[in-house]
C-alpha cells in the first residue's frame, strides 16, 4: 500500500498521511515509516479522531470515548491521504472529510484502506485498497494491530446477537 500511495502521489512532495483513530493511526504509522525508508523522506503524519463529527451521536447511547486528534502541519494545498483499517458504510470517512475541512483546504484528499468490505451507505470510494472481502451484515471485520492487540491480523467473526 505504501508504494501505491507514493505512485498515486507522484512522489512524496506535499504528502500528508492522516490515520483515523484508532487502528488507522497505527497503520498510518507503519505506512509512513515504510515510505520514509524506501524514499529516504520525512513524510508528515497526523491522527484524526472523528467521534465529534459522527452523524449518529444522538442514537449511540452513552458518550463514546474521544481519542486524540493531531494534525501537526498546515494542510492547505497539500495532498492528504486518509488511512483507515476497514471501509464499510463510508460514514467514518464522511466525518473525516468534514473534520479535515475545518483544518484547511488540501489540494486533494485520497483514501487508503486496508480492508474494503463493501456495504456502502454513502457515495465514498477508496483510491487504494489492501484487500477486498465479501461478508454479510451479520458479520464483523476487525483489524488487529501489534501495538493495541498484540498481533497483526484480520479477523472475520459473527456479530454478537442483540440482547
Amino acid at each position: 500500500m505504501a508504494d501505491e500511495i507514493v505512485e498515486l502521489n507522484n512522489g512524496t512532495e506535499g504528502l500528508v498521511i492522516v490515520g483515523i483513530q484508532r487502528r488507522g493511526v497505527q497503520l498510518a504509522a507503519q505506512i509512513v515509516s515504510t515510505i520514509n525508508e524506501r524514499e529516504n523522506a520525512q513524510v508528515a503524519r497526523g491522527a484524526l479522531d472523528i467521534t465529534l463529527y459522527r452523524d449518529d451521536l444522538q442514537t449511540v447511547g452513552p458518550r463514546p470515548v474521544v481519542g486524540q486528534t493531531q494534525i501537526p502541519v498546515d494542510i492547505d494545498g497539500q495532498n492528504v491521504f486518509i488511512v483507515d483499517d476497514v471501509l464499510y458504510t463510508g460514514r467514518t470517512i464522511r466525518a473525516a472529510l468534514d473534520e479535515l475541512a475545518d483544518f484547511g483546504r488540501p489540494k486533494r484528499i485520497a483514501l487508503a484502506v486496508l480492508i474494503d468490505r463493501g456495504g456502502r451507505e454513502l457515495p465514498i470510494q477508496p483510491d487504494i485498497v489492501g484487500k477486498k472481502v465479501t461478508v454479510d451484515s451479520t458479520q464483523r471485520v476487525d483489524v488487529l494491530v501489534e501495538e493495541l492487540d498484540g498481533k497483526n491480523a484480520v479477523v472475520i467473526a459473527d456479530r454478537e446477537p442483540s440482547p
Binding site: L52, Y53, T59, G61, P62, R63, V65, Q68, T89, S162
Partner: protein, 320 residues
C-alpha cells in the same frame, strides 16, 4: 462504552472517582480543539442550551458560552434577577417555561444552595450547576483538578491547600469533594471564623496560619475574599486579612519547594494574593481559564448522550 454521568451535573459530591476521571480524560481532546484555527466541532449542532444566570458572572458565563458555541450548539443567555419574589416569577415557573420551549440543556447559576437540584428535579432537560449558593461549583472543581493533573501528572497523594473563606465558598466545597475522591490530600487555611466547624469530619487538615499551609502544600488554591465578610463581622479588615493570610512572594520564598498557585478568579490583588504571586512563574491561573472551556465542553458532551433505546435500534441497523 463510557460510564454515564446521568441527567445532570449538580456537584462533585455525588460523583465517583471513576466518573471524575472520565470527565478529566474527556477534556483532553477538547483542549486541542481550542488550539485549532476553526475552533468548532459539529457535535451539539441543533442543541439548544440556555445559560440561566441569576447571579452576575461574566467569567463563568462566557466560558460556558465558548464551550457551547465550539460544540456548535445554539445558546441563549437569560440574566434573571436574584430574588424570585422581586421578579414575580418563581424558579419553578422559569423552569417550566424553558421546558415548554423545548430546550436541551440548562446551565444555571443561582444564589440559593440547592437551586440546581430544585431545577433538575422538575425539568427533563439536562441541568448543569454553574454555582448554587455556597453549595457547589462542579465545573470549577473539575478544571482545578485538570490543571493540577496537567502539572503533577497525577492527583493521588498530592497536597492541596485551599486558602480563604471556605465557609462561604462553593468552589472550596467542590474542590474538597473532587480532591478527596481522586486521592489527594486536602488542607484548608483561613481565619477560624471563616472555616466551617465540622470540616475536619471530611478528612481535611486545618491550618491556622498560612505559613504552615505553605510549608505543607504542593499547591495552593487561593479563594477570593469578599467585602461582605468584613461587614458581616467575620474578620476585622481586609488589611489585616492580607497581613496575616495573604499569599505573598516573601511567604512563598520561605517554602521548601515551588508551590503551584491556583485562583478561581476574579482576584483581589493585594488582599488574598499579591500581584507578583498571581503573575509569577508558578501561577497556573491562566491555565485554569483555558482548561475551563475544555472541561465545560467535556461536560456538555458527556451529558448530552443519546437515548439507549435508539442506540439499540442503530446497532441492529448497521455499522459506522
Amino acid at each position: 462504552m463510557t460510564q454515564s454521568l446521568g441527567k445532570d451535573l449538580l456537584g462533585l459530591e455525588p460523583l465517583s472517582g471513576e466518573q471524575i476521571r472520565l470527565i478529566l480524560d474527556t477534556a483532553e481532546p477538547f483542549k486541542e480543539i481550542s488550539e485549532r484555527t476553526i475552533k468548532k466541532v459539529p457535535t451539539l449542532r441543533g442543541a439548544t442550551i440556555v445559560n440561566l444566570f441569576f447571579e452576575a458572572s461574566t467569567r463563568t458565563r462566557v466560558s460556558f458560552e465558548f464551550a457551547e458555541k465550539r460544540l456548535s450548539a445554539d445558546t441563549v443567555n437569560v440574566a434573571a434577577s436574584g430574588s424570585s419574589v422581586s421578579k414575580g416569577e418563581t424558579l419553578v415557573d422559569t423552569a417550566r417555561n424553558l421546558e415548554a420551549m423545548r430546550i436541551d440543556m440548562v446551565v444555571i447559576r443561582h444564589g440559593a444552595s440547592g437551586a440546581a437540584r430544585f431545577l433538575a428535579d422538575r425539568i427533563e432537560s439536562n441541568v448543569i450547576n454553574a454555582g448554587d449558593g455556597t453549595h457547589e461549583h462542579p465545573t470549577q472543581g473539575l478544571l482545578d483538578l485538570l490543571t493540577l493533573r496537567d502539572h503533577f501528572k497525577r492527583l493521588d497523594g498530592i497536597k492541596v491547600c485551599i486558602v480563604g473563606d471556605v465557609l462561604h465558598s462553593r468552589v472550596a466545597r467542590s474542590n474538597i469533594w473532587g480532591l478527596t475522591k481522586m486521592g489527594a490530600q486536602v488542607g484548608i487555611c483561613g481565619p477560624r471564623s471563616l472555616l466551617p466547624n465540622s470540616i475536619d469530619e471530611l478528612g481535611v487538615t486545618v491550618f491556622n496560619r498560612v505559613e504552615e499551609a505553605i510549608e505543607w502544600a504542593d499547591a495552593l488554591n487561593i479563594l477570593r475574599l469578599q467585602l461582605e465578610r468584613m461587614q458581616g463581622g467575620y474578620i476585622p479588615s481586609l488589611r489585616e486579612y492580607n497581613r496575616v493570610f495573604g499569599v505573598s512572594r516573601e511567604r512563598l520564598d520561605r517554602a521548601k519547594r515551588d508551590i503551584l498557585i491556583l485562583h478561581p478568579g476574579p482576584m483581589n490583588r493585594g488582599v488574598e494574593i499579591d500581584s507578583d504571586v498571581a503573575d509569577g512563574p508558578f501561577s497556573v491561573i491562566l491555565d485554569q481559564v483555558t482548561n475551563g472551556v475544555a472541561i465545560r465542553m467535556a461536560v456538555l458532551y458527556l451529558l448530552s448522550g443519546g437515548k439507549p433505546e435508539l442506540a439499540e435500534a442503530a446497532k441492529r441497523g448497521g455499522g459506522v
